[in-house]
């Protein structure tokens, strides 16, 4: 069966390891540090997490001491702490990226200005400009080149580790601080085989004398000095220049460290490493992983008889002209400088400008070796992890052949607006045939990535082959697709780009072949493995025609397996990853089959071993039975009988969605040209409705006969995928087959329907769980029961009909749970996790105030499911109104929202001023009514006011005056706008707390909604100040030792702020009441909303029960603090929950995060109970304060 893909020869390295760069770098930084300040930010968080884990497990540094870690409230906080640690003489490190790095800049100047030896590590990442991007480029690090930090770059996992070591060593020698950076994701998350550094090498690199000298300079009252003085014009300048000798010494010292490192490891680096033809006529200069791709391409071109090369920049700051010039062959005639950043308005990007200046300086100082000065062009590539592959590198080399090569070019995109882009041939491929390339499509939940990481480990550590893995994740948090790119070969793998032509393609989820061009990745004569319930004899007719065509045309060997059946038969549970992994090894033949199976079993034993022999045995059985279930499909030669793939978005979708969104959904966003986008980052709203994801395994089915019409199901739905409407019974005339409807209770002539959105439901079961209506004859049957998917297309037709039914008149809706769900949700089908505890609040917000809602959203989960492409969930009503939503940053969101409020209020004031002046012209009555109702908030008055604005506009249109035109511009602001500031606890309690506090203090009419999951959810569950006592989170491995910060109590202390805590799963009516009261309060409001989360470690279908237990145990009190009550002589604080009736432990024990180590458990539960008791008592006391005697 083997398709003979095995690599030919390789050198076995006994000490090799397979890790990603984050872990490799963290291992060095940890061992060479004493104090570490951390804060999570993608893609650097795993480095901090590793250090935290090692410290919690008492792993020691090079000197036998366990490094101390502290998590700060932001990267600005980290920088401050680091500065203090350094000035007090501790060996210190940290990790960051992107916006986090920007927040460190002020302190970077200080640290460099004070010549404090320090090395930190940056996973270089794009900056938020027109949009946020978590992906890799050099925009962040290039924004630091003026700080005085040494900048040193690495291009691969091996180099990242090595350069980390060289940097830590060199900083002590030079006293100048180092920023070591490598490409975010491409390097930080690439898993590769490399040679780990032993302690002895680190020891050999560090000069203890330099550490002693560093410590002796530390601030100490035993030999005091003073730093941080303020200097006057007489001395500041000279004193600033006094550091020059240290900077002048850096290049030599770094090269010295590189040489020492080479002596210890055999791996030699230089400040600038030239690779290529010794008499090259064209070269590329680049930093980072892209340089490796350029190098690989150069070698291939040289083999074809060309003369090209690459200069890899290692030490970027200080930029050493001498070393740079010396690295370039004298034969070079033209140079392309590649920058992975963009500086709009500059003469060129930074590396380009440095190269131009370096050549000019070299010439003027007589260093230049060129007979004829080379032509230099600069270009941008790879922004936000855009691919940079050999076809692009080749295009750059080719461009250098042109008589007048294009300067300031871009490569890798199609810039049809300004024509900067170079053309390239996407078919160009230089990967050698002895490298096995495999691409795997999986679901996040099926464990494909984990199994692939294990395969890399097996191949990397058990065979002589080199191995590499890179993983592409989804932008959705539920039903997420993963694509794994694996390479194995006899030489170190320098290809740091995605696989385009794989000789093995596996699709672990059969539905993907209906949606994506899976076989677009397949190389001719490759292997295609499909996990499908259809057997080898029948699968052919079930394939889409496009798939059949590629199998035939590319002459693919085609295998099928029904992994779910194999797993079921073996009793191994739901995960099919090891079965698919076994098939990969069996087909690819990378390893002898028995050896592969033995290694897979070893991993299974490691994963499940502590959970009992039985589980291990079942998983072993699944692996053993995998091959029996693997069948090759006889591919018919001329039978393209398959069905056509369904269009990505329906016919009725808007043009933009069809042309742009659909292209992105198909995985072809790379093909979109610059002209496809609005230049300012603006996107149309309401696009999730066009992306039908069909990810639910089971759907809720409504039994109208027992439904009590409470609307709780619609209320709790995180994805607005189950909805409720009442409508005139007459409208049922055209209802499609199977459409369910019952008479509306207590409303004659009206019918009522609960309708599931079958293609948008994620199957979380919260609706069925909350449903209170049980059948009297069969209590296991509720008005909503999760059921295997009935005919989805029929249901889809029913849903479409349901959506077309009119929404009830908003002016008749009351602010209660049931009515709220008759209002249209203007936040729908987001990519949030299945069962998300945050989104029901946002959905409710849009139902209550969506047509006048302005949202400032802090970066985090809510900004990702709220605004991550390709499709976004905020949408509009039938009048085209809906939430205006935007995300500025993580740290500034409260201020951003305050800005909205001020601008809105000002424009309203301008409108009122002009209207007052124009009253005689537009009519005193109309003007008077408009002015009297600018702050009206009830639905009927709002509707009337909007109508008045329509009339006003008509009148203004006939008036020819500047004032009339100005009023027309701002007339909409005569209708009240509702400003909400949304974010998670990481923002509100930590990084944005200063802003939250300040904005609350301004008295402005804003509403802050904190979606409190008690951890940094989006970056993977790190501790925030909201994390409760005893909860285990990342950065709080042994359980948080301190209590949760009581943000509500702090806000209440102002006295004039509306403050409330809610938990919709415990008391939905209170949530609605709070939203209503907060919005109506003419001043700042703060709502802290309990949000269950996957980071809590339990089945979220119990999320609502857990919310109840949180409240009933007193852990999460429900209350409202309303300053308006004080004016009425009432106590402002009202407790909305009954006194605790269950033990705190009954709540805690259901969540994995509270299951700390056994020795702590009983003591922790007792302490947690005591804390809750005290808090309950405190709140009860507070609830008695403030009212007049009579009111008590």
């Amino acid at each position: 069966m083997s398709a003979n893909l095995e690599p030919q020869t390789a050198v076995r390295s006994p000490k090799a390891s397979t890790l990603d760069a984050n872990e490799a770098v963290a291992s060095v930084a940890y061992r060479l540090s004493e104090t570490i300040a951390i804060y999570p930010i993608t893609p650097s968080s795993p480095m901090a997490e590793s250090c935290d884990e090692w410290s919690a497990k008492n792993r020691k540094n090079l000197w036998g001491s366990i490094p101390s870690l502290v998590e700060m409230q932001s990267e600005a906080g980290v920088a401050g702490a680091v500065h203090g640690m350094l000035n007090s003489g501790a060996l210190t490190t940290t990790f960051t990226a992107s916006q986090g790095l920007l927040l460190m800049i002020p302190n970077m100047y200080k640290i460099a200005g004070e010549l404090l030896p320090f090395c930190f590590h940056v996973t270089a990442r794009a900056l938020a400009t027109h949009a946020l991007s978590i992906f890799g480029d050099h925009s962040d690090v290039m924004a630091c080149r003026q700080t005085g930090f040494v900048m040193i770059a690495s291009n691969s996992v091996q180099e990242a580790q090595d350069m980390a070591c060289i940097s830590h060593a060199a900083t002590f020698e030079t006293r100048v601080p180092f920023m070591h950076f490598f490409d975010g994701f491409r390097t930080s998350h690439e898993v590769a085989k490399f040679h780990p550094l032993e302690d002895d090498v680190l020891r050999g690199m560090i000069d203890e004398e330099t550490i002693r000298a560093f410590r002796s300079r530390g601030l100490s009252p035993d030999h005091p000095t003073i730093r941080g003085t303020a200097q006057n014009p007489d001395v500041y300048f000279q004193a600033r220049e006094a550091c020059n000798p240290f900077y002048n010494a850096v290049p030599k010292a770094v090269q010295g460290a590189m040489d020492r490192f080479a002596a210890l490891t055999g791996r030699q680096y230089h400040l600038f490493d030239y690779s290529g033809h010794p008499e090259a006529d064209r070269i590329i200069v680049a930093i980072g992983s892209g340089a490796e791709t350029a190098e690989e391409t150069a070698h291939w071109l040289n083999e074809q008889g060309q003369k090209v090369g690459v200069v890899k920049v290692r030490l970027y700051r200080p930029f050493n002209v001498e070393a740079f010039i010396a690295s370039i062959p004298a034969s070079v005639k033209s140079i392309a400088v590649l920058d992975r950043t963009k500086e709009p308005g500059s003469l060129g990007e930074p590396l380009y400008l440095d190269v131009v200046a370096a050549l000019a300086e070299a010439r003027s100082s007589g260093l230049s070796q060129f007979a004829c000065e080379p032509v230099v062009i600069g270009g941008r590539y790879g922004l936000g992890s855009k691919e940079f592959d050999p076809s692009m590198a080749k295009a750059v080399f080719d461009e250098l052949l042109a008589e007048r090569p294009k300067n300031h070019f871009t490569i890798g995109i199609n810039d049809d607006l300004t024509g900067t882009s170079l053309a390239y041939d996407p078919q160009f491929d230089l990967e050698p045939s002895d490298v096995v390339r495999a691409v795997f499509f999986g679901l996040g939940a099926d464990g494909t990535v984990g199994a692939n990481k294990n395969s890399i480990k097996i191949i990397g550590e058990e065979t002589a082959n080199f191995a590499q893995g890179y993983f592409v994740y989804d932008s959705k948090k539920s039903g997420a697709m993963t694509i794994s790119h694996l390479r194995f070969g006899p030489r170190p793998i320098a290809a740091h780009y995605l696989i385009k032509r794989a000789n093995f393609v596996a699709c672990h989820q059969a539905t993907f072949i209906e949606k994506f061009d899976v076989l677009g990745y397949a190389a001719p004569k490759g292997v295609f493995l499909l996990n499908t319930p259809f057997g080898a004899d029948v699968i052919w007719e079930h394939l889409p025609r496009e798939v059949q065509k590629q199998i035939v045309e590319k002459e693919l060997k085609f295998y099928v397996i029904d992994a779910a059946s194999v797993s079921r038969a073996a009793g191994a549970g739901g995960r099919t990853n090891t079965i698919m992994q076994t098939c990969f090894f069996a087909i690819s033949g990378v390893l002898p089959r028995d050896e592969a199976i033995e290694q897979i079993k070893k991993a299974i034993k490691k994963t499940y071993g502590r959970k009992g022999d039985d589980v291990v045995a079942k998983n072993f059985a699944a692996v053993d039975q995998a091959l029996a279930g693997l069948h090759e499909v006889a591919v018919p030669a001329n039978n393209l009988c398959g069905h056509a793939m369904a269009p990505t978005v329906p016919e009725g979708a808007p043009d933009f969605v069809k042309q742009v969104t659909a292209t992105i959904l198909e995985g072809k966003g790379d093909d979109l040209p610059t002209s496809a986008f609005l230049a300012d980052g603006t996107w149309p709203v309401g696009t999730t409705q066009w992306e039908k994801r069909n990810i639910a395994d089971k759907l809720p089915v409504w039994d109208s006969s027992i439904c009590i019409q409470c609307n709780k199901c619609a209320f709790v739905c995180p994805h607005a995928a189950i909805r409720s409407k009442h409508y005139s019974t007459e409208l049922l005339a055209n209802a499609p087959e199977g459409f369910q409807s019952v008479p509306m209770r207590a409303q004659a002539g009206q019918s009522f329907t609960i309708q599931v959105a079958p293609e948008d439901c994620t199957g979380c079961t919260l609706c069925a769980s909350v449903c209170p209506a049980k059948s009297k004859t069969d209590p296991s049957h509720k008005a909503l029961t999760m059921t295997d998917i009935p005919e989805r297309s029929k249901q889809a037709a029913q849903y479409a009909y349901f959506l077309d039914l009119p929404y009830p008149d908003r002016t008749l809706l009351k602010p209660d749970v049931k009515s709220s769900q008759f209002a249209q949700p203007l936040f729908e089908y987001s990519g949030a996790c299945t069962g998300c505890g945050e989104t029901p609040y946002i959905k409710l917000l849009t139902q209550m105030f969506g047509d006048r809602l302005v949202v400032a959203n802090a970066t985090g989960c809510s900004s990702i499911y709220g605004g991550n492409l390709p499709t976004t969930p905020y949408t509009t009503d039938a009048n085209g109104r809906g939430p205006a939503w935007s995300n500025s940053l993580f740290e500034d969101n409260a201020e951003y929202g305050l800005g909205f409020r001020f601008a809105i209020d000002k424009q309203s004031a301008i409108a009122q001023e002009i209207l007052t002046g124009l009253a005689p012209q537009v009519g005193e009555t109309l003007a008077g009514e408009l002015l009297a109702n600018v702050n009206a908030r009830d639905e009927a008055t709002l509707a009337a006011q909007r109508q008045r604005v329509v009339v006003l506009r008509e009148k203004l249109a006939s008036m020819d005056s500047l004032a009339a035109r100005r009023l027309a511009d701002v007339a909409d602001y005569l209708v009240r706008k509702s400003t909400w500031i949304l974010g998670g606890d990481g923002w509100a309690y930590d990084i944005g707390y200063g802003g939250v506090d300040h904005v609350l203090s301004t008295g402005a009419n804003i509403n802050i909604l904190v979606l409190d999951t008690e951890v940094y959810s989006n970056t993977g569950g790190q501790m925030s100040k909201s994390t409760p006592f005893g909860a285990t989170a990342k950065f709080a491995m042994a359980g948080k030792a301190r209590p949760k910060k009581d943000l509500s109590l702090m806000a209440m202390s102002y006295g004039n702020i509306y403050v409330a805590r809610v938990a919709f799963g415990a008391k939905d009516a209170q949530t609605v009441k709070v939203f209503e009261e907060a919005e109506s309060f003419d001043g700042p409001s703060l709502i802290i909303a309990y949000s269950h989360c996957i980071a809590h470690g339990y089945n979220l279908k119990s999320g609502l029960e857990q919310q109840k237990l949180a409240v009933e145990s007193g852990t999460w009190p429900l209350f409202r603090f309303d300053p308006r009550r004080a004016e009425q002589g009432l106590a402002p604080l009202q407790i909305d929950n009954a006194p605790p009736k269950v033990r705190v432990a009954d709540y805690l024990r259901n969540e994995l995060r509270f299951r700390t180590k056994p020795e702590n458990l009983a003591a922790f539960e007792a302490a947690a109970q005591e804390q809750v008791n005290q808090r309950v008592a405190l709140y009860q006391k507070l609830a008695g304060i403030g009212g007049t005697e009579e009111s008590k």
Binding site: I134, R575, G612, S1017, G1097, T1156, K1157
Partner: protein, 332 residues
Amino acid sequence: MNLETNYLGLRLKNPLMPGASPLVDDLGMVRRLEDAGAAAIVMHSLFEEQIELERAARERDVDSYTESFAEAITYLPTEDDFNETSDQYLQLIGKIKAAVSVPVIASLNGITSGGWVGHAKLIEQVGADALELNYYDLPSNPQKSGAEVEQRALDLVAAIRKEVSIPIAVKLSPFFSSLPHFVSRLTEAGANGVVLFNRFYQPDINIDDLDVDPVLELSTPSELRLRLRWLAILSAQIETSYAATGGIHRAEDAIRAIMAGAHSVQLVSTLLTKGPERLGVILADMVQWLEEHEYESIAQMRGTMNLKHSPDATAFERANYLRILKSWTPSL
């Protein structure tokens, strides 16, 4: 007064010990039990089902979210940082062993044969002195005969016996067609004793929510009678170790159980309501009774009221049914 007894081959200073209960989760409580005079510590059961549920939950609620989203490869610290029931249990055995000098009897409730044997081995490895197999099998399958239910238990005991060398007691429910036959086969399969009887969690029906609520009610002394009968019948015929559990609240109850043939007596409900020191009170009362009645040792009275020795053996058999019914007069 010689209170010594031999249970499962363990020489115990007296017959009283706490039965399986959550008391042992608290080491302070365990020390108080020993101070009160407990002759051994019986731990609550390690439930394989719970381990299996935890594993499935981990896979569903934790693992399935990993490696799915670029910003968060995981959402919780690594597995090692959390309590697994089995780790916790095994650690607890070690801690109790270190805290007390009396024997520690671990308890296991499995669902698969692999699980029973695997965990029994682990329990032995961490130093338990004996193993109580909590054979709690509620037969709800109409396809399964009584013989099959019994055979499964026998196979399990034999399989565990093959793998562990510490003494094994089997804790039974009273619901077997022929307990004497079954118990005698259990001893043949390698059991060193039986514990009579298990008490079931009895579900109750919540008529407001149309739901089923699990309820655990503490025992009452009246429950002892069932134990007395079977101790009397079994101990008279089958040579093995017997423990009585369920309904022992006073010294008199313990004495009755011993007279019916028990080598040891397990206390739970009374300790849960009155604290671990209650064991000391019962022990003292028992000594006083023995002294008052001029017994010299526990051994002297063990089995004296069983089927073999009882002056009215028929009272333990069916014959007493009619008599009792007749003696019950309605108070109307």
